[in-house]
């Protein structure tokens, strides 16, 4: 009983791994892995020897062939068995010379099958080479025993026959330039395509860890979040900086993004000549939506600093305060200034909602203002900001006189002005966008010089002036144009048939006589009568072609 117990205990002891008296494996197979599928007929089974007394191993392949014979020598502590596989499953067994250690590998070979059989995984190995590469091409084997952990840049990955163009591009990835292909690839084999040692970004972050924060913004570009660095960057070399793929940076972006974005006649400056999407967008990640380098309400100012300065002006267009992209397409447009739509269409769309009555009256105006008719809002209004009310580009009168030059010249040369003209307010009388009345007046005004008097005929004047001015034959308050209390406005204007229109005596805008009295009044088509008006502190005198000279005095009435 005691002997049996001792045997059992000793048996367990020997079975335990790494115990001093247990049988130690003299070698281990490093590549390929067991139960893998490969696409190459010829593979190399590589192993490392742990027992220096082992001088060779025996390799057998059921159905396949060990090239160079079944006995494989140990060189510098490793062995390499070149094997030709048969199609389908292959059982490889390797024994050390004493037969004490044997290991088996199941390798499935198929060129055609896409999926490995159950229980197997695809394994990528370097295609068979004509030249047998040596371990010391990549491994630093100096010293005894040789260590296969120390690697050196290989001078043999690129040759006239293989990967000959590597490292010859304009912008070369560091490891490629230094010949350190094994920084990313393992020629013995890996579970990943192109025999890379790590998939996706994981391989890149080994070196590019300093930029890790760049990839962790609030908004991440999807190739980055999916670990697809090589979607955009050529891992080896490129003609573009940062080893970007494609003919240009823009081309690269439009591999995924819709190029219709920029297929318009007017391009935003950064996109011209091949395009710089990175002028505004970050390629990896950003704290801002749409991967913008700055929040969308600020990004335009990184170049358009004049616009940012203008926001301090007194009158700023509301959309400008919010976001330039309300009106402008940041990429391209068929419209000037990258407007999203035809200018006045854009203006109307917002202003229709804000000022529906005004917009309607503009659309229905019988007498439109020409710039409005042409849809040229910007001929009078600044689109972004101005120093003048209603976003006018200049004081109203100045704007009007840029087109109405003759009138402007006349007003500048005059000495006496109608109140609204004096105060730069053409809009007091004129509906600047268009109206139902000739000369785009705000209200009706008779065109004829002589009209039967009706108060409503002069509605436009009485929007400011007292509507009783010509209603009372006698007054001391309504007007200064009186001889004592005799209301001379009443005398001239309030007649059943031939009442003088205000413009019979007064210039509508300005004149060189006090009260902007006209210099002459037209008579018929060919004639005009001069009017000479002189004013005194208490009255005046009128020498006209219509009647004999008359004077008037408010304090000492003239007897007629």
């Amino acid at each position: 009983m005691r002997n049996i117990l001792l045997a059992v205990i000793l048996g367990f002891f020997f079975l335990l791994p790494n115990h001093p008296l247990a049988s130690k494996e003299s070698f281990r197979i490093v590549y390929p892995v067991d139960r893998c599928m490969v696409k190459w007929e010829r593979i190399r089974v590589i192993g490392l020897v742990t027992d220096s007394s082992v001088k060779n191993v025996t390799c057998q392949v059921k159905g396949g062939e060990v090239l160079g014979g079944p006995t494989v020598p140990i060189i510098k502590g490793a062995f390499t068995a070149s094997i030709r596989l048969k199609k389908g499953a292959n059982e490889i067994s390797i024994l050390d010379q004493s037969g004490s250690t044997s290991q088996k590998l199941s390798i499935y070979f198929s060129k055609e099958e896409a999926k490995p059989p159950e229980g197997f995984k695809t394994y990528f190995i370097h295609s068979p080479l004509e030249r047998e590469e040596q371990c010391q091409d990549c491994h630093n084997l100096k010293g005894e025993p040789a260590s296969y952990k120390k690697m050196i840049p290989s001078a043999t990955c690129t040759s006239a026959q293989c990967h000959s163009q590597m490292g010859k591009g304009k912008f070369v990835h560091g490891p490629v330039g230094s010949g350190t292909c094994i920084a990313c690839h393992n020629p013995h084999g890996t579970p990943f395509k192109s025999i890379v040692t790590r998939l996706g970004g994981e391989g890149c972050y080994i070196c590019h860890d300093a930029q890790a924060d760049e990839f962790k913004g609030k908004v991440i570009h999807s190739p980055v979040s999916e670990g697809g660095c090589s979607d955009c960057h050529d891992p080896h070399q490129s003609s573009l900086k940062f080893q970007l793929k494609g003919a240009s940076q823009q081309d690269l972006c439009f591999n995924c993004h819709d190029s219709k974005l920029i297929q318009q006649s007017n391009l935003h400056e950064p996109l011209k000549g091949g395009g710089d999407c990175i002028a505004c967008h970050k390629a990896h990640s950003s704290p801002n939506k749409k991967l913008l380098t700055l929040p969308s309400e600020k990004i335009c100012f990184s170049c358009h600093e004049d616009v940012e300065k203008g926001l301090k002006k007194k009158y700023v267009h509301e959309p400008v305060k919010e976001n330039c992209q309300e009106c402008h397409d940041p990429h391209a447009s068929s419209q000037k200034a990258l407007l999203r739509k035809v200018q006045n269409q854009m203006c109307v769309e917002c202003h229709q909602a804000i000022h529906p009555k005004t917009t309607q009256s503009i659309a229905q105006a019988k007498f439109p203002h020409q710039p409005v008719q042409k849809g040229d809002c910007s001929s009078c209004h600044g689109a972004h900001f101005t120093d003048f009310e209603k976003l006018l580009k200049a004081p109203l009168k100045e704007i009007c006189f840029t087109c109405h030059k003759d009138l402007g010249e006349k007003v500048k040369a005059s000495k006496f002005f109608h109140g609204p003209v004096e105060q730069n307010d053409c809009a007091s009388c004129h509906e600047t966008h268009g109206s139902s009345y000739p000369k785009i007046l705000r209200n009706y005004f008779p065109a004829e010089f002589y009209v039967p008097y009706k108060t409503e005929n002069y509605a436009i004047c009485f929007d400011c002036h007292n509507k009783d001015i010509a209603l009372h034959a006698k007054t001391l308050e309504l007007t200064g144009f009186r001889n004592g209390d005799r209301n001379l406005h009443f005398t001239h204007v309030n007649k059943e048939k031939k009442g003088r229109n205000c413009k019979a005596c007064h210039e509508a805008h300005s004149g060189n006589q006090p009260k902007h009295i006209r210099q002459e009044v037209p008579y018929g088509k060919m004639w005009s009568y001069p009017i000479h008006f002189t004013m005194t502190p208490t009255g005046g005198t009128c020498v006209v072609g219509c009647h004999k000279p008359f004077s008037y005095d408010r304090e000492k009435p003239v007897k007629y």
């Binding site: 900086k241 400056e269 009310e389 109140g419 307010d425 509605a459 009783d468 009568y529 008006f533 002189t534």
Partner: protein, 347 residues
């Protein structure tokens, strides 16, 4: 000879009259009485007539009862819808200003000359909570005495009841009145108000604006590592505005990086010529000289910057390197220390 109405007139009389009046019109034209724009019978700087009216509560009120205060007079009315609208608008603006400034010695008086509006005005007063005196000028006494002919009309009087300013309706009436009132009350200077009324426009020509945008884009692209594209943008900037100092210097830095110091130096010289205070220009120049082996000249440039009181960690750093290259380790150390001190001071 007959006139237009067919009346006979003596030719000689008419001629003499005409000649007399024609000649005198020049004299009178030159000496025509000035009048405050909004008030026919008043003049700026002269005392205004007394106002003696009842307010809408029936209490007697006189203008002369206001002592030692500036007065705003508003003539308003509603004989048409548009006049009423305009009047209410200016009235409410003035009421607001009155509440703000009455503690500083302002009085607001409004006068309505429409005799049929007493009850309506009372209702409006309640609706808008007006606190100022509202006077009824049923017989248009004040209206006539002041020569009002536009509604609404505003006058600002000083403490002696002299007319300071007058305004009749325009679309900017409220802004104008407020601006002038604040000046009159000492809350704003005339210069400040003038600047607001007539702001000086940004006269930067379009080509300079475009040049600046191209420069900004270039700088942007340079930060992103696109130096080739940045170069193009700086060149465009210079093309549009040959006096753009920063664009010259930025382009110079790119040429320097491309190991073309001669071209770089030309650009730095031009940039410094346009902006003699450009630190970056001098630093670029020093780096270019260094790359051509002219370390002493480079040191001279940087020391010159420091003598002019231009302090930047970068200047000290480059000086440190240059001194180190020259084997002057003590000097180099001193400059490196200064660079660090400058950085920490900045931070």
């Amino acid at each position: 000879m007959k006139n237009f109405r067919g009346e006979k007139i003596d030719k000689r009389d008419a001629f003499h009259w005409f000649l007399f009046l024609f000649l005198s019109s020049f004299l009178f034209g030159m000496t025509s009485p000035s009048f405050a724009l909004a008030f026919r019978t008043l003049e700026i700087g002269k005392k205004v007539p007394e106002i003696q009216l009842k307010d809408i509560e029936g209490n007697e009120f006189t203008l002369s009862s206001i002592k030692g205060r500036k007065v705003v007079l508003l003539f308003w009315g509603g004989d048409s819808a548009i006049k009423e609208k305009r009047s209410l608008s200016i009235m409410n603006r003035l009421e607001g200003l009155y509440r703000q400034l009455k503690g500083d010695g302002l009085q607001l008086i409004s006068i309505i000359s429409d005799p049929e509006s007493k009850e309506k005005v009372k209702a409006l007063k309640q609706q808008y909570s007006w606190t100022h005196h509202i006077l009824l000028d049923e017989k248009r006494e004040a209206y006539g005495a002041y020569g009002v002919y536009i509604i609404p009309t505003v006058g600002i009087l000083d403490e002696e009841k002299r007319l300071l300013k007058s305004f009749s309706f325009t679309h900017s009436l409220e802004e104008e009145v407020e601006g002038e009132l604040l000046v009159a009350m000492g809350k704003k200077t005339a210069e400040q108000w003038e600047k607001e009324r007539h702001p000086k426009e940004d006269l930067l020509p379009e080509n300079k604006k475009k040049a600046q945008r191209h420069f900004n884009l270039g700088r942007n692209l340079l930060e992103k590592g696109s130096s080739e594209r940045a170069k193009e943008e700086f060149m465009k900037s210079i093309q549009l505005d040959p006096d753009h100092a920063d664009a010259h210097i930025a382009l110079g830095m790119i040429y320097l990086k491309e190991k073309n110091p001669k071209e770089a130096i030309q650009l730095f010289e031009r940039g410094i010529g346009l902006n003699p205070d450009s630190r970056q220009g001098f630093i670029g120049m020093a780096l270019a000289l260094e790359s051509m082996g002219e370390n002493l000249k480079a040191i001279e440039k940087l020391e010159g910057l420091l003598k002019r009181g231009q302090e930047m960690p970068e200047i000290h750093y480059h000086l440190g390197r240059l001194y180190e290259k020259q084997g002057q380790k003590e000097h180099a150390l001193s400059e490196y220390k200064k660079a660090l001190q400058s950085i920490f001071k900045t931070d």
